[in-house]
Subunit: 443 residues, 2 copies
């Protein structure tokens, strides 16, 4: 079950692995207690609503709305980089005009059922087909001999995986672990209902590794973009690979990921967060069936409308690469997205390198089998370190930049995660403010 | 918090309330143990997939597919009435042609956010508006001074309610109760993750009624169509009203339901189960916020595409009643649906009354404030009792009729729940087979 993403020579991932080990020691003490407190207080962060209603926001948050603010207003506004809201992609889809339009009639989406011949009876065949085509095109995941399970975002699929892997009659909840910094939603989702089936343990190292436990391997990692493999290596290890960001706009595609359970999401591939669609590629039929059972119990399936739309959008991408005529008309999706991410990372590294206030992780460089370009991983988020203050999130908030503090990821307050995939206007303003801070903070 | 649905003189609900009391005594012993066993075995019923793969089904199940089978084939097929798949409505929506079509472009549904000015930041304003209009039109629920929370079906909203009402730091899980027969999914959803926040207790009467507990009041009730009020009446009572079937095709609308927490679903109102959309009307802002938090943690919102489509469909219904010109062109939705349910119930009662094999509950008659018609509740399900055999589900299965046995609803095996809202061809074949059984079983 070893990760194949990271196993090629092209990707220089050793820096990232060393960093993971570093965190393992540094942040274990702070974090478990802090996360438990967050959950107990009912303040589960990712406070999508609360920020808007806060006392000190000074008005509407620009990134909250899908539409950017008019020029001139933005300099007094809060820039919300807390969520990975992928509004960066909207302008691309607008350029595509009516090519991605779908018409859905009133008599559609009446039945619960999509295809009773497959394990996932609520999976629309057109969506399954588009997913398979897209993976074949990009070369980022094996789809052969696998079941596709569709979910209401990869968030629901993560819960479905926990349900599927944790026996109902076990004497103790199964340990769920992941090396810090880990995706901040994992502990919240795992512990929000105080399940007797599983329990968040974060990156503690003192659990029984002979007994079954689940390790979440996120690669490229959210929040820091590192390329990862499993780190706990116990004999009870069950791996779940969150490969939401293993797309050619974020990282070189070095090989087809070939893990037992892989989670993908539309939000970070085509940028359609509002559809709430994710999919899992699952080798073991019994596990796929239990995941389907969970989605049946918790929501009796997944929106057909979103599956129909997602299929259309994915197939427009597939067609654009397969049909050379189309490709001459306009930039193709992954080319656009990779170039846009490259531009943003170039701007970000430039401004960070100009001063002493911040630093960014070094990320591995590799050649991409899809684009045949050589580039460093350019994640959807910046894992920004404040070099001169202890509480980076609060510091940036004073400058009206909203980010998510490191403690939410099992790490230190010196770090924040900042989304880089919002509207261009917000991004430019973010860069302008970082530059301003650098000039103020310089010795 | 007393139910106002049942409080008018028009609705003769005493039969139903007596029946509820009867069940309270009769079935308590059988059921809790059985349900626990079902859950522990991992055989959570509602086996949407399993039936298809069964040994003895003799082929594809007719109701599984959205399209009916061609004539002549149906007599050898299994008729699947296990699920409340509302395919009955499909022919109506086909008749409406392109009036309910929606066109959705590729640049839509990019952001997670819909409207950050409301508590439910993922609620599409058009959907909220259509819901409010529809309730005002039908007169089945108060919408003033309430928050609308949208969910991935009312199934997700039920979980959101449990999360919102059960304190995280309570020493014991909160008791979740409901008088039998209760909706079979409630115990499965409640106990599937062995939550420490809440625990299914069904209709046991020996819990501490002074401490907070949640009673689910489903009215009209699933599975038996009875009109209900709360029955446990302890001082710790917190009521959640599932009013999924409080629509004028199923029961006379006697007053605007005015409860603290009310759950609705599109599946049973307009018949669009595949959209996976439900909504809650919630008085208390703090509860609404916690429900929103749950949906944020468990799926980061709800499909925008389905909300956009649902708004269109609801508004076509709203317009048809408000615009007299439209109404002359074709039958309006609730008139069509009420007449179709009346026709089906008339056929069902006729065939049941002709023999000794089956019986059906007597349901209350009332005048409907919406249609101004006087009629008896005509539920989406038949709560059918086998008078001459002990295991009604197995008996009907021999006749290739798939239903859900009474034990799943906390009741006896002599009962089954059979969906009456499937395709017309399946319904007619169901009636034909009941007639055949009656003729075979007659003394």
């Amino acid at each position: 079950m070893a990760s194949k993403i990271a196993s090629t020579k092209n990707v220089k991932n050793q820096t990232a692995l060393l960093a993971a080990g570093h965190w393992l020691i540094l942040s274990v003490a702070i974090n478990v207690g802090f996360l438990l407190k967050l959950i107990h207080d009912g303040n589960l962060r990712i406070d999508w609503y609360g920020l808007h209603n806060g006392q000190d926001n000074g008005g509407h948050l620009s990134s909250y709305a899908a539409e950017p603010k008019p020029d001139g207003q933005i300099q007094n506004k809060y820039i919300n980089l807390d969520h990975g809201d992928p509004t960066m992609y909207q302008s691309y889809w607008k350029q595509m005009g009516d090519r991605t339009d779908v018409v859905i009639s009133g008599w559609q989406s009446v039945s619960y059922f999509s295809d009773t011949k497959t394990v996932c009876w609520f999976l629309e065949p057109g969506f399954a087909n588009a997913v398979t085509r897209l993976h074949k095109l990009v070369g980022n995941a094996e789809t052969g001999n696998r079941h596709i399970v569709v979910g209401t975002g990869s968030t629901q699929l993560f819960q479905a995986v926990l349900y599927a892997l944790c026996p109902y009659d076990a004497p103790e909840p199964m340990s769920i672990v992941s090396a810090a910094p880990f995706y901040s939603s994992y502990p919240l989702i795992t512990d929000c209902l105080k399940s007797g089936l599983y329990k968040w343990r974060g990156e503690v190292d003192d659990f029984n590794k002979e007994a079954p436990y689940i390790e979440l391997v996120t690669s490229p990692n959210n929040p820091d973009g590192s390329i990862r493999e499993a780190v706990f290596n116990g004999s009870g290890q069950i791996l779940v690979h969150d490969v939401a960001y293993y797309w050619p706009q974020y990282t070189p595609i070095s090989s087809r990921a070939d893990h037992d359970i892989m989670l993908f999401t539309l939000s970070k591939s085509t940028g359609h967060a509002g559809m709430r669609l994710g999919w899992a590629l699952v080798k073991d039929e019994a596990i796929a069936k239990k995941m389907v059972k969970f989605i049946e119990i918790s929501s009796i399936g997944v929106s057909k409308d979103s599956q129909v739309r997602a299929a259309k959008i994915m197939d427009v991408i597939n067609d654009s690469y397969e049909d050379s005529k189309t490709s001459n008309e306009s930039k193709r999706f992954f080319d656009y997205a990779r170039e846009e991410m490259a531009k943003r990372w170039s701007q970000l590294r430039e401004v960070v390198n100009k001063g002493q206030a911040f630093s960014l992780p070094t990320l591995p460089v590799g050649e991409c089998n899809f684009s045949h370009q050589t580039f460093a991983t350019q994640p959807a988020f910046a894992w920004l370190k404040c070099e001169q203050v202890d509480d980076c999130e609060s510091f940036l908030k004073k400058h009206k930049i909203l980010t998510r503090g490191g403690v939410h990821f099992g790490s230190s307050k010196k770090y924040v995660r900042a989304s880089l995939i919002g509207h261009e206007e917000d991004y430019n303003e973010f860069i302008r403010r970082l530059s301003l801070i650098n000039s103020l903070e310089s010795p």
